[in-house]
Assembly symmetry: C2
Homo-oligomer: 504 residues x 2
C-alpha cells in the first residue's frame, strides 16, 4: 500500500512516494541491524556523542522544511513546532552529554580479594547495549516523541541500532526527519542500518515480532500499547516493551489553595487542559476542586476560559473521533454535568469540553477514571479530606500528580505522599504539561500509565531501558572493555571496591 | 492441606504443624503488607540497615538448628549448608551496607534554571520502594535463595515488605529461617507484616494475583517461572516478574587451552558439573571441546572423574525424576553418545551422566540446547572456529559463559565478545558455579535464562528491581523526602545539576 499524508485542517490527502514496508522486508532490515549492532556498539563514546550532535545539527539545518512538513500533517501551530524541534535537537545534544558522562554504564570493579566466604575473583560489571531497538513514534509530538525523539536519541546513546515505525498521522514529516538523521549517520560513517524506518500497521507488528529486535519503545494509546506489549510477551523470546500509554493526570486544589487563588488556578488550569488541543499525555484530566464558594469561583473561571476558547483542529480525524467517543461515554455512562460543551465539530475539528461530578459519584463511575485524549477535563468536587482521598484512590495511577496548595497547607503532606505512591512525577503549584529534558526528569508511572514503572522516556535515565549488565570475571586487562580497564581510559565515574570514584 | 516435610535421603515424611495458606488469607496478608508499606518505607536508611544486620545476627545465632533442619530436608552435606548459611548472613550484612551507601536511590537534583527551552523548574528525582514484593524461594539453596536469601534481603533493603512463598522441598527450614527473621523484625519494632510467609502451590498463585503485591522475585525452573510470569502479565494490573530460570551455561575450551592443560580442565570441569549434585543454575551444562588428541585427553579425564564419583541424593524425588526425564530425552531424542551412564537410582538417588555429540549435530538437536538440572553435561566436539561459533549461537542464551583459553589465545577475543552477547556473566579460566556476593556481581542473563535481562538476583544491583523513580517538581524543601533535601541529610551520593557528588 502507498503511504498517504493527510492535512487534518483541510482533509486533503496526498500520496507519498513511499510504500508500506512488507513484513519480510521488516524482518530483513532487523537482521541487518543486528548484523551491524556490534560494530555500532563498539564505536567509542566520543564518536557516539558526535553522532548525536551531528543529528542535532542536521535537524537544525533543515528547520524550515521540517516545520512546514509537520504543520501540513499535524495542524499544530508554527511556534509550537519550532519550539518542539528546538527541544528535539536540544535533547539529542543532551544525550551526547549523557554518553560522555558515562555514568549510564554503571561500571563497577571489585578486585580479587579475600572475603569471609573465601577468595572472591576479580569481578567487573558494565552495562552493554541490548541490540536493535524498535521505536514507535507518537501522533502528538511529530518531532520530540517521533523519529528524532527521546526514544531514538536514548537508544542511540546506549549504543543500540534503531528501527523506527513512522506514525501514520505524519509520514512525510517522519521521512524528512529520518532523512536528516540519516545524513548525519552517513557524515559520521556510522555502520549500515544504524537507523532504519518502516511504514504501515503491519510493519509495526512485524517489528515487534522480529527475532533480531531486542526491545521496544512506544508512546501512544493504552489500547495500541497494550496490544503490542502482549505481542512482545507472546514471542518465543519475549522482549522488554516500554510503553508510555498516557494517563488521566489528577490535579488537586486544596481548600486552602482555592481560598487563596481560586480564579488564577482556574484560568491557568484551563490553559493546561487545552494546550495543544489537549493532546498531551500529561494533560491534567481530573481536577479535584473543593465544594463551596472558592471552588465555585475556580470552576467559574474554568468554564469562562474554556467556553471562550477557539475551536481546535486535532492531529487527525481519527483522533478527533476517539475524543468524541470518549467524551460521549463520560456524558452517557458517567452521568456527569456538562459545564462546557458546544456543538461537536466535523472531521478533525473539536472544541473544549468540561464536565463536573461529585467525588462519591466519581468513585463509582469507572468510565471516568481513564484518560480522555483531547481538550477536556472532569472537575471532581469534594466535601472533605476523606472524600478527596477516596476519590484519588479510585483514579488510575498516572504519569503525573499535581498539587495546588497554600503555604503551610495542612493537606500538603498527605497529598504529596499519596501522589508519590500513584504517579511518576509529583509537582506543586504548577501544571504537568511541560516535561523538561534534564538529568532529574522522570516521565513514567505505575500501570496503566506505562508498562514498566521503573522506566522513563524523558530525561537522562531514558537510556537505562536499552542496556543490560554483563559481569566479566577474571578477564585479563587486555581483553576487558575500556569501561572496565583499571586505568579508566574513558574517564568515567566508577565504583571501585565498593567506593564511587568520580574523575575530575 | 497440612504441610509435609520429606527427607529425600530416607523418603521419610513428617507432618508439620502448618497448613497450606488459603487463597483468601494470602490476599488478606498482602493487603496488610500494603497497609504497612508506607510506614516501612519511611523508616530511616540507618534503621533499615540495622534491621538487615539484626536478621544476620538471628540467623547466625541459630546456625545449629537451621543446618540440622536443612540437612534433613535437602540431603545437602553439613559443610555446604554451613557455608551457605554464612553466605546468607554475609549477604544480609552486605545489603545493610548497600542501604547506607545510598547510591541505590539514584538521587538527582536539578535546580530551577534557564535553558535554551525556557525556564526549567526545580526537578528532583529519587527511587522509591514499589510496595509489597512476593518472593518464591528456590529448591536448591534452602538459605541463600530462599526465605532469608538475596531476593528477601534486597527487597527489604529497598524498603519493600516481603511475602515469601516457602519452597515445598524444605518447609521446615523455611519456617525456621522465617522465625529467625521475624525475631529480628520484632526486636527492631518493624511495622506489622514487614515479612510474611505462605505455604502451598495455591498460595503461590494467589501471591502473584494479589492486587496489593507490586512485584515478584522467583528462582526456579523455566516451566514454573514462565507460567507465573504469564500469570503476572495476565493481571488487571500487570506487575514486574523477575524470574531467574536457570540455563545451560556453555563452557568453551579453546584449542590452545586444550593443548596446554587438557587433563586439568577435564578434572576441574567434572568437579563443577557435579558440585551440589549438579543442582546449580550456573552448572556448566555444555562443554565445547576441540576434536583431536588434546580434546580426547580432556574428555578422558571428564569420564574418569564422573564415572568414579559417588552417587548423589538429589533435593527431592521429584527433582531426581525431572533429571532422569531430561537426561533420557537427551539419550533418546538428541542422539548423543553416552560416555558415563550407570544404572539409574531410585527415588532421590542418581549418579553422574556425561554425553557427547559433535558440533553440527548439536546445532540440529534442539533438545540438547536447554538446561538439564542435575549432575550431567554434554560434551560438544568442534572441528573449527566456524563450527564452534555456529554451535554456540545454537545454544540458548545463558546466565554464564565460561572460556578456557591460553595466554595470547587467538580465539579469546571473539569468544569473549560472543559470550558477552549471550550471557550475563563471562568468566575466564574458572568455573561458573561460584556466584560471589559483591558490588560487581551480575546474576542474570538474556531470555530464557531470566525474564528480565537487565535485572540481577545477586549483588548490590539486585535492589534495583524493587524500586521505581519519582520526580518531585517545585516541591518546597520542607516537603521533600530527605534524600532530595538540599543539605543532603542522608549524606548519600547524588547528581546535582548534572554533576555527581560523592560525600566523604
Amino acid at each position: 500500500m502507498t503511504v498517504i499524508s493527510t492535512n487534518p485542517a483541510t482533509g486533503v490527502e496526498r500520496t507519498l512516494e513511499l510504500d508500506d514496508t512488507p513484513r519480510d522486508e521488516v524482518l530483513a532490515i532487523a537482521r541487518l541491524a543486528k548484523d551491524n549492532a556490534v560494530d555500532f556498539a563498539e564505536r567509542s563514546l566520543a564518536w557516539r556523542s558526535d553522532l548525536l550532535r551531528a543529528m542535532a545539527d542536521e535537524l537544525e539545518g533543515d528547520v524550515e522544511h521540517l516545520v512546514v512538513a509537520a504543520m501540513d500533517e499535524t495542524a499544530l501551530p508554527e511556534a509550537r513546532l519550532r519550539g518542539e524541534l528546538a527541544r528535539t535537537s536540544f535533547q539529542m545534544r543532551f544525550f551526547a552529554e549523557v554518553v560522555l558522562d558515562g555514568s549510564f554504564l554503571a561500571a563497577s570493579i571489585d578486585e580479587a580479594m579475600a572475603s569471609p566466604m573465601g577468595p572472591l575473583p576479580d569481578l567487573r560489571r558494565v552495562r552493554t547495549p541490548v541490540g536493535p531497538v524498535a521505536i514507535f513514534g507518537s501522533s502528538n509530538f511529530p518531532f520530540a516523541f517521533s523519529v528524532p525523539g527521546g526514544d531514538t536519541a536514548s537508544a542511540l546513546a546506549a549504543g543500540c541500532p534503531v528501527l523506527i515505525k513512522a506514525h501514520p498521522a505524519h509520514p512525510a514529516t517522519s521521512a524528512a526527519t529520518f532523512a536528516a538523521l540519516a545524513r548525519a549517520a552517513r557524515r559520521l560513517d556510522a555502520p549500515a542500518h544504524t537507523l532504519s524506518i518502516v511504514f504501515g500497521f503491519e510493519a509495526g507488528a512485524a517489528l515487534v515480532d522480529a527475532p533480531d529486535v531486542a526491545a521496544v519503545g512506544f508512546t501512544g494509546s493504552l489500547s495500541a500499547g497494550r496490544a503490542l506489549w502482549a505481542r512482545a510477551n507472546a514471542r518465543d523470546t519475549p522482549i522488554a516493551f516500554y510503553g508510555e500509554l498516557g494517563s488521566a493526570n489528577p490535579l488537586v486544589v486544596t481548600t486552602a489553595a482555592a481560598r487563596e487563588r481560586a480564579a488564577q488556578i482556574g484560568t491557568d488550569a484551563a490553559g493546561s487542559v487545552i494546550l495543544g488541543a489537549g493532546q498531551f499525555c500529561t494533560k491534567p484530566g481530573l481536577l479535584f476542586v473543593p465544594a463551596g464558594e472558592s471552588g465555585d469561583t475556580l470552576v467559574h473561571e474554568l468554564v469562562r476560559a474554556l467556553s471562550t476558547a477557539n475551536e481546535f483542529t486535532m492531529l487527525s480525524a481519527g483522533i478527533a473521533d476517539n475524543f468524541r467517543r470518549s467524551a460521549l461515554a463520560f456524558e452517557r455512562e458517567g452521568r456527569v454535568a456538562v459545564l462546557v460543551g458546544r456543538e461537536w465539530g466535523d472531521e478533525a475539528r473539536t472544541s473544549a469540553r468540561l464536565y463536573e461530578v461529585d467525588a462519591m459519584q466519581f468513585v463509582t463511575e469507572s468510565t471516568l477514571h481513564t484518560e480522555c485524549f483531547g481538550p477536556t477535563a472532569i472537575v471532581v468536587r469534594y466535601d472533605s479530606s476523606a472524600q478527596l482521598r477516596t476519590a484519588l484512590l479510585a483514579a488510575e495511577p498516572a504519569l503525573t500528580f499535581t498539587l495546588h496548595a497554600a503555604d503551610e497547607d495542612p493537606d500538603a503532606r498527605w497529598l504529596l505522599d499519596l501522589g508519590a505512591q500513584r504517579a511518576g512525577r509529583v509537582l506543586m503549584n504548577g501544571f504537568p504539561t511541560g516535561v523538561g529534558v534534564s538529568w532529574s526528569m522522570h516521565h513514567g508511572g505505575p500501570w496503566p500509565s506505562t508498562t514498566a514503572p521503573w522506566a522513563t522516556s524523558v530525561g537522562a535515565a531514558a537510556i537505562e531501558r536499552w542496556l543490560r549488565p554483563v559481569t566479566f570475571q577474571s578477564v585479563p586487562e587486555a581483553l576487558l572493555p575500556p569501561a572496565l580497564q583499571s586505568a579508566n581510559p574513558l574517564s568515567i565515574p566508577r565504583r571501585v571496591n565498593g567506593h564511587l570514584e568520580v574523575p575530575h
